[in-house]
Symmetry: D2
Subunit: 331 residues, 4 copies
């Protein structure tokens, strides 16, 4: 049994709390949030206590922490949890600054505590099945990975301003998927971007529509397209073209209902956003973390995975700003 302290009782924290509470091998021991009312509500729902981060880290009852606070607190919380010897599951990104993020990961590593980063998409049933078949060699060597990832609507401008930009905030998930599927590290990144959804996003110094191309040392390619707005739902598709065939994973819908009238054949829009689409993936992510920690294996995606994706996001941002591709050192 693994007892968690949850740091952060916002939307994503509440989702993790429910998953912990429902997990046969996990318990929610303590909830901490600067907004005490939010912490109270979550704790009450799942029979946990409310406390401070310090109390959680000092408590022998707590085995692991789940960090779901605002991004700027992730690195110090990782370091504090590492010092206290707690296993760590941290929402992405580790930090918007690669040096700060690296320091946190190195600290956890030195402390020998398990650390996993919340790239939940790796646990989506369809993406995981695609990856398994890719690894099984079903399409030979991967050659072109194509990822389409589009949010239903842009976040509030206030969030955009502190988000670190589309590449670090949104595309970082897709960059992680690209690394994962390419099976090799990208050594070159090129980005193009525009603010087509809302000019205020341009005023905030960001883009809302972007393309990224990646190349690995052996010449494998990946392309990612992002938009902050999709009228038809949360568009999340992956395709992998290989030497012997092609694998793809499509969007999900709430039902399989189709209606045919004189206007044509109509299916439902796709699932609305990440809570709907990736609900089962968050559960599977927790399963994998709990299982790894309880059996003494290293949980994944690792802190190094978190850093690698952030480096790609930084490179994409730099490419956008300079208008030229960015080379990365071969790993």
């Amino acid at each position: 049994m693994l007892t968690f302290a949850l740091f952060g009782a916002g939307r994503i924290g509440r989702l993790h709390a429910a998953n912990i509470a429902a997990h046969p091998k996990a318990r929610l021991g303590l909830v901490a949030d600067v907004a005490e009312e939010a912490a109270q509500a979550v704790a009450a729902q799942h029979g946990a206590s409310v406390g401070s981060v310090e109390e959680a880290l000092a408590s022998d009852r707590i085995d692991a922490v789940l960090i779901a606070t605002s991004t700027d607190t992730h690195a110090p919380l990782i370091e504090a949890a590492a010092a206290a010897g707690k296993a760590i599951l941290c929402e992405k990104p580790i930090d918007l600054d690669i040096a700060r993020a690296t320091a946190a990961v190195r600290t956890a590593s030195a402390a020998g505590v398990p650390l996993a980063v919340g790239f939940n998409r790796r646990f989506d049933a369809s993406f995981a099945a695609l990856k398994a078949r890719l690894d099984a060699g079903d399409i030979g060597t991967p050659e072109i990975v194509s990822i389409a990832s589009r949010d239903p609507s842009p976040p509030p401008l206030a969030y955009v301003r502190v988000s670190g930009g589309l590449f670090r905030d949104m595309m970082i998930h897709d960059l992680d998927m690209a690394r994962w599927l390419l099976g090799e590290e990208p050594i070159e990144v090129h980005a193009m971007g525009s603010a087509l959804v809302d000019p205020a996003i341009a005023d905030a110094g960001d883009v809302d529509t972007a393309l990224v191309s990646l190349r690995t040392a052996s010449g494998r390619l990946a392309q990612i397209s992002n938009s902050r707005r999709a009228a038809y739902g949360y568009d999340q598709r992956i395709e992998c073209h290989g030497s012997k065939g092609m694998l793809r994973a499509d969007n999900l819908r709430g039902t399989t209902v189709e209606i045919a009238t004189a206007a044509g054949y109509v299916r439902d829009p796709i699932l609305h956003f990440f809570l709907e689409r990736y609900g089962p993936a968050y559960r599977a992510e927790l399963d994998a973390f709990v299982e790894a920690v309880l059996t003494g294996r290293e949980p994944a995606p690792t802190g190094e995975d978190g850093l690698a994706a952030l480096r790609l996001a930084d490179a994409a941002q730099q490419s956008l700003e300079t208008g030229t591709p960015v080379r990365l050192p071969a790993s």
Copy 2:
């Protein structure tokens, strides 16, 4: 080279005329129609002459006749063409009366002339591919054949009154498909029907919505559903459930375009009616007839196929009228 006389210059006759004219091994020699203007138009378009049925049958230039006149003339034209030694491709049905139809087929058979009946659906690329895979054993033994067949809108009432009823006029195509796919003769037929589309069809003594169930001697089953109206186009689907799997053939669309908006994912309606859907099938039907006649093989579907489908339609009509299933002699 096979030179045809075309009997009947209506909608379906014009389609056959164009196919004959475009065929590398066929020529349109003569067109006959009681409406001479219609015959003139078709003949002019394809460089054929206009003439009477008698002239066509007396001419050495004419090798084959394509009968696309009104149903009541099919049987006498078959007999006359048989007497003249011409190869015959006759639109379905041979006759609404099974005795009259049987006499015509026997006459052609006795004369030794090739006779094929226009069950064009056997030549649809998808249905033919399904049949080929069925015959190859890809799903083992067929157990349940399911056919959905729905017209976009009902024919004029004047036509309904002389059509011989939904089973002989419309479902006869599906009954032929069922026989073809079951691979055994049905020995029992049950029909249910209603006039849901237009009460005037009930007043005319017919139904516009119907179900038929069929059973063969070894117990294979088939179910057919017909409607005279489908808001979404000409619905033509076949499914065959077998001991090792399932084969199905879907409808066709004019394009593969799909649009996704907040209203959902929309594809085009299916092709509108038989001229659109079965255009290529009519060409393949002609190909098969020409090839068979020129090489001395028996063309298919045969006159016996035409009679067998009509017997099933008669049985369905009788089942509808009596409210009980009808047994057919095992063949």
Copy 3:
């Protein structure tokens, strides 16, 4: 909060136990099973006690019973629970004998206890959405309901012998769906059936492959096809053709992955069987029952729904045996 006693700790009982335990407004209080070890295991997992049916019905702590025992005990358990004033959620069928089933339903009704029958498919998200759109008039009046329902493989022969036959055991679900979607009571039933999957099923006096056609007073039609074996999974599809269009609900798959190679484009087989396919439906069924009982509304599907489906199954069985359609009194 609604506290349940669970009668029957077999496969389906365990599924209900987990759903009750996970439900925010329900609790599992007691588990009874003739196999005490099975009851112990389920009770231990969910913190319930083990007891007899008599103890459960005598206990003030128990508000409702969930009957998941063998079919022959359903009717007496309904009557006993009704006498004890407990709300009842009973797995289908109520009884294989319509008179016995009717007596049980009448007893519950006279006692004024809520009684729902486990036609779980009504709670499948896709079927429920289809029904909602049908009721909203999206395709006008329903005219042809088509239901394909095929199990992955036949049950053990020992089960077949006591199952009451394919119509009462398997197709009863589809007959309930047909009633639900037709929006009118069927007044005529015709069945055809064969033993194509396993001749031993014929020896046991049953069929494994069957077609049923239904007709309502206003002439609406339904067709059902059943097979005890489908190589490609648990085939569960519904289609409703109406005056203004067509609605359909397709099967579900575990993932959206598709692989394209020289052999074609391949998707996963469909979900394997009812525990996979209808897992969420069982949860939604429990939700609806709990909500209805706690708010004093009548739960559905009602006991009368259970009787109506059984009458249709009886009629289908009779039609199969006599070879003629069976008329039912208009309701």
Copy 4:
């Protein structure tokens, strides 16, 4: 009636010859090819004469020329035909050298003869329908155009060496589609490429796998992926994400047959290559050309369209070679 001389009796020339012969308003008058036997065969099949280019251009009988010879002869033939006052339909590309191509187009323009370039994909029914809906505003403003274009297998190395490279030979079609769908001229081009299919292609100085990203002045983006090899057929897909939704056009298959077994649900591979996929598009291209010339309108895609696509291909090649994006002057 428009009488054509066909220059080039190879595979693509034969396809055009058949389309001209079957066209109600066109005739094939003369066939010229350096391989006289090839010219003879085509001419004999369609009742045309064989002759030299000079004879064709000198003849009053010839209204238009269809240029389907090797690429290096396109520009001089355009100029000669322009001097002779013939309408010109020229296979792509006009020339591998942009200066030479520009000179040819300018010459035709100065002579006032109609000139169309064979970007046949614009006439594909699905792509044309997608474009029509885009122009109708069905998805608002286009923001991200995504084009996947993959050949079934690479051409012979001898061809690769004289092809002008993947961008000018293969991707030029996709670059034309991107311009057409973006509705604005790209002002920036970035390319990445690898030789993953065959190292001999790298030895020949070319790539076989490539990504291109495009940006227009207003910030619209396009991404193209190309591979010289796809195990599953000729992959030709377009997707356009816009402010109000998304349009896409999928591949085509020979049939709609699907087989379901324990191995999953399998559809046919997609159509094999361009002759199968774009057969109807070549016919529609000819229709449009004939109609434009006979009615005195300018045919499309124009010579300027041919030059614009070639400029993009040149920019992509330069980007690949330099490793940096290439800016193009705003038009």
